[in-house]
């Protein structure tokens, strides 16, 4: 627990000291404006709730990659990783603590788009199914955190980490149906959407905003949970392997 708390607090001070952390908070309102304008100008102002949800996911993804995925690699570049491994507190718990700040960042991101959309853009939006909405939101934050943990390990192992960071965003937004429901995607892409937990999440969040009944909520919620657990399992499997390999090959720090 010590390591977790230390890592959590360290990451919070990073949020305060690195201006990059502001990026999602600044771009989310802008995206909300873009999406809202398009929908209203196109005569579907009733769908403006969609315009608020999509930027939330975009912020979440940004945090997952840049405040989560790159955590281990940046420790290697900074040269701090060797000190971290040599410290009494567990390396893994510190990393998990750092990445878990995503839960907080994601919640703030959501709060921001909600306040901006509702009170600045005066979007008419009501949460018709509060329990489903809350459950989806919480599970989504958790799933994004475990996915980020998995990415942190992946970025150490894979040489395509940089390309992935720059290129995965919009493909994931598409497959996650964060703005436009996946039903509007071509048939051959549908199977791929199933393993992107965002698609289950966005379906539920959008559904909670509409007056009609939600169908299959329990199933969708358990899919998010399942994908969260899978990401966690993969992360755990990789983490100890990476650590052992790094200590024996001497490649902990990057020159």
């Amino acid at each position: 627990m010590r390591g977790f708390r230390s890592g959590f607090r360290l990451q919070l001070s990073f949020f305060r000291n690195y201006p990059d952390s502001l990026i999602p908070l600044l771009t989310a309102p802008l995206f909300t404006v873009v999406f809202t304008m398009v929908l209203r100008h196109g005569g579907r102002g009733d769908l403006s709730g969609y315009a608020m949800i999509a930027p939330f996911y975009m912020s979440l993804w940004w945090f997952a990659i840049f405040n989560g995925g790159w955590v281990i690699q940046t420790e290697r570049w900074e040269g701090t990783i060797e000190y971290l491994v040599a410290a009494p507190v567990g390396f893994v718990s510190v990393i998990v603590g750092r990445i878990s700040t995503m839960l907080l960042a994601g919640a703030v991101a959501f709060g921001e788009v909600w306040v901006f959309g509702r009170y600045v853009l005066r979007t008419n939006v009501t949460i018709h199914h509060p329990y489903v909405f809350t459950a989806s939101l919480v599970l989504t934050l958790i799933a994004m955190t475990t996915t980020s943990l998995f990415m942190a390990n992946l970025f150490v192992l894979s040489r395509t980490a940089v390309t992935f960071s720059n290129s995965a965003s919009y493909p994931v937004y598409l497959l996650g149906g964060i703005l436009v429901p996946i039903a509007l995607l071509p048939g051959w892409l549908q199977p791929a959407t199933n393993i992107v937990f965002l698609s289950w999440s966005s379906k539920l969040l959008r559904g909670s905003l509409s007056a009609g009944p939600i169908q299959g909520a329990a199933f969708d919620l358990s899919m998010i949970a399942l994908l969260a657990v899978v990401a966690l399992g993969l992360a755990t499997a990789f983490m100890s392997r990476i650590l052992r390999h790094a200590r024996s090959s001497g490649e902990l720090a990057l020159r």
Binding site: G79, Y83, A86, S249
Partner: protein
């Protein structure tokens, strides 16, 4: 045989590196070393000798290929968890600190990683910053620090948990002479407080001034382990008397004294090689009575030992 474990024990340690698409590198080749508790032990060798590799293995950051090492009785490979709370690490250099955080933030974070109780963290960090002379810059971002300031912060970090064994790897590299001297004073203070210190360096003066014993290492092999003074004996068993302004007549008289092995001309005078400490006082008496006051005795310096044993590599690394 002492029942208490040595501070550091290294037995037949081997470490091979296998970089991609390149031949294997033997960084350590059967190293044996013992460091007593409370000792300041120098690890002296050129770049690439294996000093850093050895320090990394001892600090549980790197695994050896074969062999064993123990810190205060705990195996660094199988019992790393027990080793880590006992050691402090100062690798130094430009990296290893979070540059956009302040010195204080860095130190408090590392203090928390060493399981210092919450209430103590702030006080300990403040005290250490004061001690290494960074109190005024405590709340300044590390990215603006000079090399010397960063080194001092590294040292503060190494001391944060009151380590019993402190590992220093080239701690004064890049420091100006005054800063380096202050740093060494700090080390002496820490030593006086009872810590064991392993100091890897290629700075001869540092090794000579600070260390109780020095181990010479090159190409992954230990060449010798002695006190700095005794090391001189490896190069020459002679005590030397350097004299300036002695005339031919005096020199002839000295040459005839018992124990005087030879007299050699040096840059600014003559060097008299005396075999055996017991003969030196007589030689000195003769010289001084003749009115010559420019006299100095010495043993071969660590630098001469180094160059003699390891060889003059010039700029080759």
């Amino acid at each position: 045989m002492s029942p208490r474990p040595q501070a550091v024990t290294v037995i037949d340690l081997v470490r091979t590196f296998q970089p991609r698409k390149q031949p294997a590198v033997q960084a350590l080749d059967g190293v044996r070393l013992d460091v007593d508790e409370g000792e300041v032990h120098g690890l002296l060798g050129p770049n690439g000798a294996g000093k850093t590799t050895l320090v990394k293995i001892l600090t549980t950051v790197l695994l050896p290929t074969s062999g064993r090492a123990e810190i205060l009785g705990h195996d660094v490979v199988h019992d790393a968890k027990a080793v880590r709370p006992l050691i402090g690490i100062v690798f130094g250099g430009e990296r290893g600190l979070y540059t956009r955080l302040t010195a204080r933030q860095n130190l408090e974070y590392w203090a928390s990683l060493y399981r210092l109780p919450g209430a103590q963290i702030k006080a300990r960090a403040a005290a250490l910053l004061e001690r290494v002379g960074l109190a005024e810059k405590a709340d300044v971002k590390v990215e603006t620090f000079s090399r010397g300031m960063k080194q001092r912060l590294h040292l503060a970090r190494g001391l944060v948990a009151g380590a019993k064994v402190l590992f220093l790897d080239e701690p004064t590299t890049g420091m100006d002479p005054i800063a380096a001297r202050e740093f060494r004073t700090l080390i002496s203070e820490i030593r006086a407080e009872g810590a064991t210190i392993l100091l890897a360096t290629h700075d001869m003066v540092e090794a000579e001034v600070l260390c109780d014993r020095v181990t010479l290492i090159d190409h992954g092999r230990i060449l010798a382990t002695e006190s700095p003074r005794s090391l001189g004996r490896l190069v020459s068993r002679f005590q030397r008397v350097d004299v300036e302004g002695a005339d031919r007549e005096l020199l002839d008289r000295v040459a005839a004294l018992p124990g005087v092995e030879s007299i050699v001309e040096s840059d600014d005078g003559h060097r008299i090689n005396v075999d055996g400490d017991e003969h030196v006082p007589v030689v000195l008496k003769v010289i001084v009575e003749a009115g010559v006051v420019d006299v100095r005795t010495s043993r071969p310096s660590l630098e001469e030992v180094y160059v003699g044993l390891i060889g003059d590599r010039g700029l080759e690394v």
